[in-house]
Structures are given as structure tokens and as C-alpha cells.
């Protein structure tokens, strides 16, 4: 997705860091097993968080070992396959594909071409994932269509535009989960937060390119960081409140770390501009 959803490593206990990395590596393996060698390219932190969140609560975690996709000579601790991991893998493929289709349409010629090529590569995987998760596929398509319509009409409501992406992410939670209300509330505000932080991140770029930006449409071309921070903090607060009501077993500390420390830090980095540097060294190197 975007890579905004990360834990704050120095505050993680070793065992929680191991759990996080094993889930990341496990998701990579799951993507490769289900969708072939191209798929791990779309591995990211955001869906690692989703897998951790959707995992059925367990008291303890025991990793198994698996061969690394980036370096097959190395064996790494990986989490075993699970319904949550498979769901996260399928959903990341679906979202990646629709985002690529979006870029094909929006970007300039050359960027559009590379997105076109990538989406061609991803198409068979997307077909399979969409067949497995038709509801999520429909939800993503509908939300992104709605979002495009709002962007075209230059919607000035921060909430209305963010709501489309928030609902998209909310639909990532399986309805059958007993924790579904908690998960939906948490994912709604995570989606809202991601959408708005991404808009803030693109603010100056969009201004130069004379593109629509929801933050600029609401607060003016320069944005209004204190006001935006207030509403973003509130979403984070509601995510925390939701998190406390669900049972996440041994994954609770990692999830709390992301919500209470990782996201606020990313938010601060986006506001003060240091995120641009962090972003450059993000997913691709890790995902290989």
C-alpha cells in the first residue's frame, strides 16, 4: 500500500521483533506460494500489520523456518501459513492491482507505461485473488471509483474523501470474526489516517503539479498542520481505544507498538518532512 504502518523498533521487545519479522517473512513466502515469484514485490509493512491484526488470538508464537525468497541460501524464521496470512496476501494483491490501474490512468506517459507493464505482470495473480475474495475486490473497485469521482469534483470535505479509503480498508476485516466490530472500527480509522497522511505527504508535489489534494482543498494550498494533526491524532486515539477491546493474544504488544508509537512517529516525520528520506529506503530493498 504505502508503507506508513510500521512498528517503532527500539521499543519492541526482542521476541516481539522476532514475531514481527517472522510475520513479514511469512507473508512474503505466502505471496510467493500463492502467486508466484513476482508477487513478493508487492510485500509491504502495511499488510504485515493487517496479518498480525487478523490473526486469531494465540497465547504463544512458535515460528518455523523457511527459505528466504531474496536469498534462497538462507533459512529464516517464518510464521506458519494461516487464514489471516492468506487473507492479507490476497488482499494485498487486489489492492496493489487496483492501485496500479489507477496509476495507469492518472500518471504521465512514462510512469503510466511502467505501471501498465507491472499490472500486466500482476494480472494473473489479481485474477486468482479476486476469485478468492470477490467481496473485497468489489469493495476496493467501488471505493476507488467513488474516490476518483470526488477528486474530479474537487471535493472540499476532508472526511468524505477519506471515508472512501477508510471504508475500503474496513472491508479487509472478515465479517465472520467475533472481533469484527473492533477490527472494523480500527481499520476504518487506519484507512482514514493513511489516506490523510498520504495526502499531506503529497501536498507540495500536488501543488506544483496543480493536482487535486484533499488537504489543500480543505485547508488551502499550504495546508494547516495543527488542524490536520488534531484530527489525525483523534483517529489514532480511536484506533487505540478499539485495539483495547479486542483479544489479540501474544500479538497485542506489537500491535500496540504500531498504534501508540509507530504511527505517531511516521505522522511526525511526514509533518516535518523527514519522511521523504525514510520513504526512499523503504519497501523495495526489504522486499527483495
Amino acid at each position: 500500500m504505502f508503507g506508513y504502518v510500521r512498528p517503532l523498533r527500539q521499543e519492541l521487545k526482542c521476541r516481539d521483533f522476532d514475531l514481527y519479522r517472522a510475520t513479514y517473512c511469512g507473508l512474503c513466502r505466502c505471496l510467493r506460494r500463492r502467486y508466484g515469484p513476482v508477487a513478493p514485490m508487492f510485500l509491504n509493512f502495511d499488510f504485515t500489520f493487517l496479518a498480525l491484526l487478523l490473526w486469531q488470538p494465540e497465547e504463544t508464537f512458535t515460528p518455523c523456518r523457511g527459505r528466504c525468497h531474496a536469498n534462497p541460501l538462507v533459512q529464516k524464521p517464518m510464521c506458519p501459513d494461516s487464514p489471516a496470512l492468506e487473507l492479507a496476501a490476497d488482499e494485498s494483491i487486489i489492492l496493489a492491482w487496483w492501485k496500479l490501474r489507477d496509476s495507469v490512468r492518472d500518471e504521465k506517459f512514462w510512469e503510466g507505461m511502467s505501471a501498465q507493464a507491472l499490472s500486466g505482470l500482476l494480472y494473473p495473480a489479481y485474477r486468482k485473488a479476486a476469485g478468492l475474495r470477490p467481496e473485497f475486490d468489489r469493495a476496493v473497485r467501488d471505493s476507488l471509483e467513488e474516490l476518483t469521482a470526488l477528486e474530479t469534483e474537487q471535493c472540499a470535505s476532508l472526511d468524505r474523501t477519506a471515508d472512501t479509503f477508510a471504508r475500503l480498508l474496513r472491508s479487509a476485516a472478515p465479517a465472520s470474526d467475533p472481533r469484527s466490530r473492533v477490527l472494523e472500527q480500527l481499520l476504518y480509522h487506519l484507512g482514514r489516517w493513511i489516506y490523510l497522511i498520504d495526502a499531506r505527504d503529497d501536498l507540495s508535489e500536488d501543488r506544483e503539479a496543480d493536482r487535486y489534494n484533499p488537504v489543500a482543498a480543505r485547508y488551502g494550498p499550504e495546508g494547516d498542520d495543527p488542524a490536520l494533526k488534531l484530527t489525525l491524532d483523534h483517529s489514532l486515539e480511536l484506533m487505540g481505544a478499539a485495539l483495547q477491546l479486542g483479544d489479540f493474544g501474544c500479538r497485542t504488544p506489537v500491535l500496540e507498538n504500531v498504534v501508540y508509537l509507530g504511527l505517531p512517529l511516521v505522522q511526525r516525520a511526514v509533518f516535518d518532512g523527514s519522511w521523504a528520506q525514510i520513504k526512499k529506503q523503504k519497501i523495495w530493498r526489504n522486499g527483495q
Binding site: R218, L230, A242, Q244, L261, A269, D272, I278
Partner: protein
């Protein structure tokens, strides 16, 4: 009923002090103040009830096996019932309030939009609906309007106040310090959560 000790997350051999501490921490977590107007408020209320019952059961048990029924001394009993209730003179507004409480936001919104004259309460209710939906920016704008129109109304001012002071909510032990203390370089290091170790 579940084992009261496992509800509080302590062992059977825990001292009275430990039981009390665990109870206090949970009560702080699920306190209704943290879930004001939150769509999950009912779940928090259930949790609160569960831990209150567990704490009462343990204190009773320890006070002498049920012969002498001691009143739960430290319990935050009755928190769940402390719902502040405000009433509306306007019957439509009263219905809208009921619908909001029942979680039927769609009907509440429709009913509210049929009202022609927009007064302070209209904006307040509109803000409450927005808040429940997660439309926090519009909630803020509507509450602001409500307070502007009726500055003396405590209910509206409280709602606006809540929007302006985020960050006062519950934090688990160990997360009480926010990230504000970290400098820029640490930000860079910390967020490179996988690569930094050189294992990837």
C-alpha cells in the same frame, strides 16, 4: 461465569494488593470516559461490567467464603450506569438522539435533514452523527457551530472540548511517553524496522 482471576489476569495466589492493582489498571482502560460517544462504547461497558463482577466476586470470596457479604470496597461499581442524559424539547431531536444511541445513523441523519431551521442542537446532533461515523473533521465543525450559537450550553461545550483535547485517553503501561521526545536521527533509524539490522 468466567473465572474471576482470569478476567483480571492474575493468579489465584495473587495478594489482595495485586488483585486490586490489576483491577484498577483494567478499570482505567475500560473507563467510560475513554469511550464517550464511541461506537464501541457498549463493548467497553460489557468489559467494565465483567471486571467489576470479577473483582466483587474475589473480594467476597476472600472476605470469608460468602458468610459475611462485604460491600465491594474499592470497586468502581456503577460506572456503567453513569450515563449523562440530556433531553430535548423538540420531539424530532429526541428521536434523533434515540436513533444515534441505537446506532442507526442513516435514519438519524435523514430525520435531521428534514428539519428546516438549524439551531444549536441541530448542529450538535449533526456533529454527534458525524463523530459516530468517524467523520471527525465535520464533527468538529458542527460542534463549533453549536457552541457559537448557544455558548452557554454545557453539553455542546463538553463535546467540543473533547474534540480539542485528544491525547488524554488511555495508554497501556509503557506507552505513556509519546514519541515527542525522539530526535530526527532516531526517527530514521527506528522506522527502518527491518533493514537496520542488516539481516534482510
Amino acid at each position: 461465569m468466567k473465572d474471576p482471576y482470569s478476567v483480571l489476569g492474575v493468579s489465584q495466589s495473587a495478594s489482595d494488593e495485586e488483585v486490586k492493582k490489576a483491577y484498577r489498571e483494567l478499570a482505567r482502560k475500560y473507563h467510560p470516559d475513554n469511550y464517550q460517544n464511541n461506537p464501541l462504547a457498549d463493548l467497553a461497558e460489557e468489559k467494565m461490567k465483567e471486571i467489576n463482577e470479577a473483582y466483587d466476586a474475589i473480594t467476597k470470596q476472600r472476605a470469608g467464603g460468602g458468610g459475611y457479604q462485604q460491600q465491594s470496597s474499592g470497586s468502581y461499581g456503577g460506572y456503567a450506569q453513569q450515563q449523562r442524559s440530556y433531553s430535548s424539547n423538540n420531539p424530532t431531536y429526541a428521536r434523533v438522539r434515540n436513533l444515534i444511541n441505537a446506532g442507526d445513523l442513516g435514519t438519524a441523519e435523514r430525520l435531521l435533514y428534514e428539519v428546516g431551521r438549524k439551531d444549536g442542537e441541530w448542529y450538535f446532533l449533526s456533529g454527534s452523527i458525524a463523530y459516530r461515523k468517524g467523520w471527525l473533521d465535520e464533527a468538529m465543525q458542527n460542534y463549533t457551530m453549536a457552541v457559537q450559537m448557544e455558548p452557554s450550553n454545557m453539553e455542546y461545550r463538553q463535546a467540543l472540548n473533547m474534540m480539542q483535547q485528544r491525547g488524554g485517553g488511555y495508554r497501556p503501561y509503557g506507552y505513556t511517553n509519546t514519541v515527542d521526545g525522539l530526535d530526527c536521527c532516531t526517527t530514521m533509524l527506528c522506522l527502518n524496522c527491518l533493514c537496520g539490522g542488516g539481516h534482510c
